[in-house]
């Protein structure tokens, strides 16, 4: 970690921000709810113990920004069906391996002989394809605008080098549609959004102007170190108090107004918006990214397989957790039968999942605050 990044973990700056937040909270007329959209924020907040530093009156709720968590169970059922084909190698980000599908998980399928490999990037999966020319390699392409350009880059490389045995099961998601869905839903009371730093590097800060312009909701783009997160929260409280919502970019060391054009173009070349289902949010029009028709030969969704009839874990309330309607302890499975070693819902799997972050970091919150 560089000295520059260390400055964003400086206890003195954290203490100053915490004091300012206490002062700001004292002037608030009611309790406010701030949604951190991104799973990396959920993880960072829990890991640094930030919830315990916040004054009463400011509540953080977790949003739908963990890609593993929002991936619906039917996607996993299809991935399992593909993994069972003898000539297929399924490559995936590690977290997805442990998410329960309807009847099994990729982890279980691997144990009984399917070739499922965890990789750190789509390019690693491309390498597997290169090394195994007689097998079909299917990469599970989940993620938001942060991850999708890297998948597009791997597809680009496969096209240029003529690597014919590399395909993607497209499961990409866009960040704008669920934010609109949440704001139109009415079930969730969100006063402001703490916006994800990583996605914003790609999309740029201008992208979020609809939040302030159309919905009059305060928003702040923030990084992931404690100073970043607290400064973001302080900015949001300031906007709420002033009644003048805008999109504040508090992460200018990596986020610019227009984002990364090259990454956007690459993404657009291979993917197009499609209607897609979200765990918890249901089907949202034009909220996912599917492969364009011209790249149908790269689309593992066209491989014919028998997929089981999908069903979620009975009793699992991941959907409501993802919308911020309930906190994990309100789910009847949480901590009782759903634990990181035996997850019943997706939110307990990824370290960015709300339930996993709560389980790991927030279980003794009440005692620690006292």
């Amino acid at each position: 970690m560089s000295a520059r990044e260390d400055a964003f973990r400086d206890p003195a700056r954290v203490a100053a921000l915490t004091a300012r937040l206490r002062e700001q909270a004292g002037r608030l007329e009611r309790e406010i709810a701030i949604m951190e959209v991104c799973g990396t924020h959920t993880h960072a907040i829990a890991e640094a113990g930030i919830r315990r530093l916040l004054p009463t009156g400011i509540r953080l709720i977790s949003g739908p920004g963990c890609p593993v968590c929002v991936t619906p169970v039917d996607y996993l059922d299809r991935a399992v069906a593909l993994a069972r084909l003898p000539d297929v190698i399924v490559c995936t980000f590690g977290d997805l391996i442990r998410v329960p599908a309807s009847e099994t998980s990729l982890e279980h399928e691997r144990a009984v002989g399917c070739d499922v490999r965890d990789v750190y990037s789509a390019r690693d999966a491309l390498r597997v394809a290169r090394d195994n020319p007689d097998r079909r390699v299917v990469f599970l392409g989940v993620g938001f605008e942060t991850t999708l350009p890297t998948i597009a880059a791997a597809l680009d490389e496969a096209e240029r080098e003529g690597i014919g045995n590399f395909q993607v099961l497209a499961g990409g998601k866009l960040i704008e549609p669920p934010l609109r869905a949440l704001l139109s839903d009415g079930e969730v009371e969100v006063d402001a959004f703490l916006l994800p730093g990583h996605v914003s590097v790609i999309l740029g800060s201008d992208f979020y102007r609809f939040l302030a312009d159309e919905y009059q909701v305060p928003a702040a783009i923030a990084g992931f170190a404690p100073v970043d997160v607290l400064a973001g929260i302080s900015e949001l409280v300031r906007q709420i108090a002033s009644g003048r919502p805008r999109v504040a970019n508090l992460y200018p060391r990596v986020v610019c107004a227009g984002g990364n054009r090259l990454a956007q173009e690459l993404m657009e070349r291979f993917f197009e918006p499609v209607d897609t289902r979200w765990r918890g949010l249901g089907e949202i029009p034009a909220s996912g990214l599917g492969l364009r028709q011209s790249y149908a030969h790269r689309d593992a969704g066209h491989i014919e397989v028998d997929v089981v009839r999908s069903r979620e874990s009975p009793g699992c309330r991941c959907g409501e957790v993802l919308k911020g309607v309930i906190e994990p302890p309100e789910c009847p499975l949480y901590e009782k039968v759903c634990v990181p070693d035996d997850p019943r819902g997706a939110c307990m799997v990824s370290s960015e999942g709300t339930c996993a972050a709560w389980y790991r970091h927030e279980r003794y919150a009440a005692g620690a605050r006292a």
């Binding site: 890991e47 315990r52 990181p340 790991r360």
Partner: protein, 339 residues
């Protein structure tokens, strides 16, 4: 010895090729009187007085050679360290190998030499061994299985039952170097100043136990890391352990690799570090002793033992910014093999 550059099934069949391996490689590498007879059992000297301590371990690390060590060196260190942190002086080891058909002879040699070097450093003798070969594809190049025998003074009372509220938690050096190094190697990130901390702890443990400080218990934070170790100890002892994030010695290279790979240094293995639970008033003496020993120059006091409090985490990390989070056992995780 016949020239060979690959292990064949015959090397494990007990015939001429096995003999080649034993006489050509193992005997010269581990040379000691107990091996000379090549009998079915090693007949050893009488055990010094005290309580015998016995431990066993298996090693499957991938990659088998990494910056700072190799599977052979690691296997002897790991076994020696398990005896040392139990308060026993390690004496004799057995060393068995499971080789995959086709394993390079040069790799086998590197690993045997690593084991011999560690045995030499730790002052133990490898007195028995075995080699089996499995068909290609049924194993991953080389696995090792060890047994270690040591002796602990009869009057020494040490263990988690002695840990009491007020005890200081000390660690002999930086954390998670081994785990981070091996994980980084697997993802092509080596060469970033990462190096395994793998080393024998026998002499450091001995020095600590002889320095006059009242050492209540010792452990080595291997698989699962310091976090898992503390969670297990707190569970067994029925106490609470608080760790100070700002005191945890974690090298910046290790922090960087962990951020990149999404790992928590608290859950990564060290293979040459000793964690000691020491009576409160003796912490400075113990720390000075460790820092005066080549194996403990960067020793730190990292935490405290407290009474268990209902509703609070059995193990808590007090974060550098004044927050607090519970520390748990490592759960499931798709961690590749690291030891």
């Amino acid at each position: 010895m016949k020239r060979f550059d690959r292990i064949l099934l015959g090397h494990g069949a007990g015939g001429r090729l096995t003999q080649d391996l034993v006489r050509g490689l193992f005997l010269p590498t581990f040379d000691n009187p107990a091996l000379h007879g090549l009998s079915d059992s090693a007949l050893l000297d009488a055990l010094p007085s005290g309580r015998p301590a016995l431990t066993t371990d298996a090693f499957v690390v991938d990659p088998p050679v990494f910056p700072g060590g190799d599977l052979g060196y690691l296997s002897v260190c790991g076994t020696v360290n398990d005896l040392a942190v139990a308060g026993a002086r390690p004496l004799w080891l057995t060393w068995a190998l499971i080789l995959e058909e086709g394993c390079e002879e040069s790799l086998l040699r590197t690993i045997a030499e690593g084991a011999a070097r560690a045995a030499d450093e730790a002052g133990v003798k490898i007195v028995a061994g075995d080699t089996k070969v499995v068909p290609r594809g049924k194993g991953d190049r080389i696995y090792a299985v060890t047994t270690g025998l040591g002796v602990s003074p009869i009057e020494r009372d040490m263990g988690d039952h002695r840990i009491t509220p007020g005890d200081a938690v000390l660690v002999s050096g930086s954390l998670a170097d081994h785990g981070a190094t091996v994980m980084a190697c697997r993802h092509g990130l080596e060469g970033r100043g990462l190096r395994s901390d793998c080393m024998p702890l026998a002499s450091l443990a001995d020095a600590l136990l002889e320095c006059g400080a009242d050492v209540h218990s010792m452990h080595d934070p291997t698989r699962g890391g310091l976090g898992t170790l503390c969670a297990e100890v707190a569970g067994r002892a029925g106490l609470r352990i608080t760790l100070q994030e700002s005191s945890l010695p974690v090298r910046s290279e290790v922090k960087g690799a962990c951020e990149l790979l999404g790992l928590d240094p608290l859950h990564l293995a060290s293979e040459g570090r000793l964690v000691a639970f020491v009576k409160d008033g003796d912490a400075d003496k113990a720390l000075a002793c460790m820092r005066g020993h080549p194996g403990g120059r960067e020793a730190e006091r990292i935490g405290d033992v407290e009474e268990r409090v209902a509703g609070r985490a059995p193990v808590a990390l007090l974060t550098a910014i004044g927050g607090e989070r519970p520390v748990d056992l490592l759960s499931g995780a798709n961690l590749p093999r690291i030891c």
